[in-house]
Symmetry: C2
Subunit: 155 residues, 2 copies
């Protein structure tokens, strides 16, 4: 059943990608997906500074806002930004994506689902305000980022 | 009272900006804020294609996901990305911001508040699924974007 769901999700990702490619140029698809990851990384950094490094004073509302941004970006259908022709640098846009990503959509859908689940969990923990739980949820989210980077992003 | 609130909000924006400047370089502040606007523009484009142009079939869940991303990014404390030294190009990062923005934080806070309110309203209308209401809410959101661009963004 899970395998079926993943295959269905992968089909959705690919359908969305094809649909998007009719709307957004490959160059802009790369630009937008990099923007999404970049903005998420700023928000990851804010949470890290508060609950891991302690270099910025803990502020629950800021953590929650950051978690919400990460979860909403992650749930916005970024699969549509991996359309045909986006597996290499295009125009002014460089990409670190490995070609293998485009040959493994079911696996990418699984990793993407893990990421969204971990991001939603971080939102829930941020709402609770339990700092230890936020720290654990943040670590878990970071692991789901790394799982995909290790497989499908060039160094 | 409203004036007081706006002044307080502006102070928050500036405090956050100063705090952020200790954490994130001016170059990265520009990079991250441009990433946020870029990712929002992709999501605005998706909604426009579905409810204004009609070039992509209407899909309530996609509209809601896009609206959520816009609202969450807009509520993530981007004021912190307008710290000292970010009023001009820095390193590899160019910016279209006008210097006037840095002299008018209370007005910027007001415009930013209008934007967040309109984005949250779009989320609410997307949840309702009423296409006419979504169209109106989308138009109102676009106006709040334009209000700030007209004043504080170079052509």
């Amino acid at each position: 059943m899970k395998k079926f769901l993943m295959a269905a999700l992968a089909t959705t990702v690919m359908t969305a990608a094809v649909q998007a490619s009719a709307q957004v140029s490959p160059e802009d698809q790369i630009k937008f997906r990099k923007a999404g990851y970049s903005f998420m990384s700023w928000n990851m950094g804010k949470i890290k500074a508060q609950v891991i490094d302690g270099s910025v004073e803990y502020n629950q509302q800021q953590i929650l806002a950051a978690a919400n941004a990460i979860a909403a970006i992650g749930s916005s259908g970024m699969g549509a930004l991996y359309g045909p022709g986006t597996d290499r640098d295009v125009g002014s846009q460089t990409t670190r994506v490995k070609p293998e990503l485009f040959e493994n959509f079911p696996d990418v859908a699984q990793l993407s689902g893990d990421f969204v689940e971990a991001a939603n969990n971080l939102v829930a923990q941020a709402e609770s305000g339990d700092q230890a739980a936020i720290r654990t949820a943040f670590g878990r989210l970071g692991e789901t980022c790394k799982s995909c980077h290790d497989k499908y992003r060039k160094d």
